[in-house]
Symmetry: C2
Subunit: 336 residues, 2 copies
């Protein structure tokens, strides 16, 4: 076990794509627990598109990360010291310890997880926030129903891969959009989507025709930009557009690209609705139980893209925006 | 009574703002009724923003007006010949006879109206499609409830003026946006909105602060463009944005301006939903009855901007886009 706690702190507000100089690498002593607290050795840090938003000094659903603070991030790890009756040394927990090797907590934001049911890092992916995001977004916001055609962007990603699989479980047709032949093959052959269209292909618009010949009932958007407009143009009557994210826009130095085709909502009497998973905090337990049940029944698959070494955080984080990761992106930061 | 039927037909698909050469003025014999038909002498033609969309050769909620066809428009007038048992000479009816002085119909699209209850032209305004648009848009799509702050653009217009008054009836606060001091004064002093902000003023954004200090629960959009973005930036949690129209964009020769601030839907877990009044055709009778009841109770006011002379149609139509009209824009086309 390392005797130090290595961390990444936010050093500057990025303009556009985060640069190395936006981060500060620091080393501290491992924290110790006060009464009621636990210390967690972090095994995996979750890298999520939403983190880019938290770096901006803008009013949003949660406060921005302050300059000089450890970068906020979801984590899974093991309790190594406890002065809290609810946790004992050796428990595995998910929480928000940020980009560092050790964190401490009063326990209120920790959830015990079971690494014998699924690999520890799954609790940052399919059985964690991305899974819950897909679940609440598709079933509540998207109101998916049997026979719907569900189109999802980022279909090979942490959220999108779950959206399509949950759509199938609900009796809908799942059509994915992903970047590249390999990701599309994975989405169809391993995840069981009915189709997946490669948005990087020269024949992208042509390739969409057959899988979307009956239109789109639910579009689950993780990317924004041109792809949102392409989906809006293909909506059916009373379609639902779920705005989960807009990764194509997060590093913009110019204004966000607004959806030119939004008036198709009028023509089709359709709606576009946004959400963040934190809106459903009261229902996390129910959602997690449902996902774990489906997983144990063999109805859900997920994979993680694991990079190693806390030093690599700035580089690994950028993979989210280039689409280089294949599966939920996590960073292994424990050194033993 | 004129012995001829003067008409405006669509001569060309406009690029941008319609020009005189996009219209053809024609004169025909007055039609005669076949079995089951009625002939209607048109008194007033309704001029509505939606007509601009019907002139484009684009897939929409109804087919475009064909080149050479009489321009589609709502109308009110008097039955002058009837071979249909449901109508007798002297009945007043609303319908879609278009921009002409006489039309005929099989009666299925005609609704009898009572000029002793309200002026005939009101059935093209507050008691007609604009009133129904406001009613269904605000109560069904917008799901207005007591205590909401309802913001509406085009607040002095045919739809917007009704939106604010219905909001008040439902126990909500009505805040209007309109162009110019006179329109704003009318909206507050005569229609009873709590506030109206002049979007043409240099202090527009500053002036919005006080009336919107508790945010926006329902935004009813008739205009699109920058004003839609300004409203999106001020949404409350679970707000509803009703997309009724986008008059600022209808004569664009460049692409429609998409709402840059649409990601605020995500931050606020808000939704944006579009509709056209035709979606509610099964409920027109119920809606019309409700509006007439409120009108008879003195709870609704409306006014029409009446231009005269069918020859003036091309010029009068453009007033919709310059904001020159004050009240529901109608054209009196009968000559007696």
């Amino acid at each position: 076990m390392s005797a130090e706690n290595k961390q990444y702190r936010l050093a500057a507000r990025p303009v556009g794509t985060p640069k190395d100089s936006d981060w500060e690498f620091t080393t501290e002593a491992i924290p110790t627990a006060e009464d009621g607290e636990v210390v967690v050795k972090v095994d995996y840090v979750s890298l999520d598109p939403a983190m880019r938003g938290w770096m901006n000094d803008a009013k949003s659903y949660i406060p921005p990360v302050g300059l000089g603070e450890v970068m906020r991030a979801g984590t899974v790890g093991e309790v190594v010291e406890s002065k809290n009756d609810a946790f004992k040394v050796g428990d595995f927990v998910s929480g928000y310890h940020g980009v560092q090797q050790y964190g401490k907590s009063n326990g209120k934001d920790l959830v015990k997880v079971d690494p014998s049911l699924a690999p520890l890092q799954s609790y940052l992916g399919g059985l964690g926030m991305p899974g819950l995001t897909a679940y609440f977004g598709l079933t509540d916001v998207g109101a998916v129903k049997e026979g719907d055609t569900v189109l999802v962007s980022g279909a090979a990603g942490a959220v999108g891969s779950m959206v399509g699989q949950i759509a199938k479980i609900k009796g809908a047709r799942a059509v994915g959009l992903a970047g590249g032949v390999d990701k599309c093959r994975y989405v169809v052959e391993e995840l069981g989507f009915e189709a997946c269209v490669d948005y990087k292909s020269d024949t992208f618009l042509q390739d969409l025709k057959e899988p979307l010949k009956s239109g789109v009932d639910v579009y689950f958007d993780n990317v924004g930009g041109d792809i949102l407009d392409i989906a809006l143009a293909r909506l059916n009557r009373h379609a639902r557009v779920v705005i989960c994210g807009a990764i194509s826009q997060y590093n913009n130095t110019t204004p966000v690209q607004g959806p030119v085709n939004y008036l198709n909502l009028l023509v089709q009497h359709a709606r576009m609705e946004g959400f963040v998973v934190f809106d459903y905090i009261q229902q996390y337990a129910e959602g997690t139980k449902q996902l774990a049940t489906w997983y144990s029944e063999g109805k859900l698959q997920f994979k993680e893209h694991i990079d190693e070494g806390i030093e690599n955080f700035p580089t690994t984080f950028l993979k989210l925006f280039t689409g280089e990761n294949f599966g939920k992106l996590v960073l292994k930061v424990s050194e033993d």
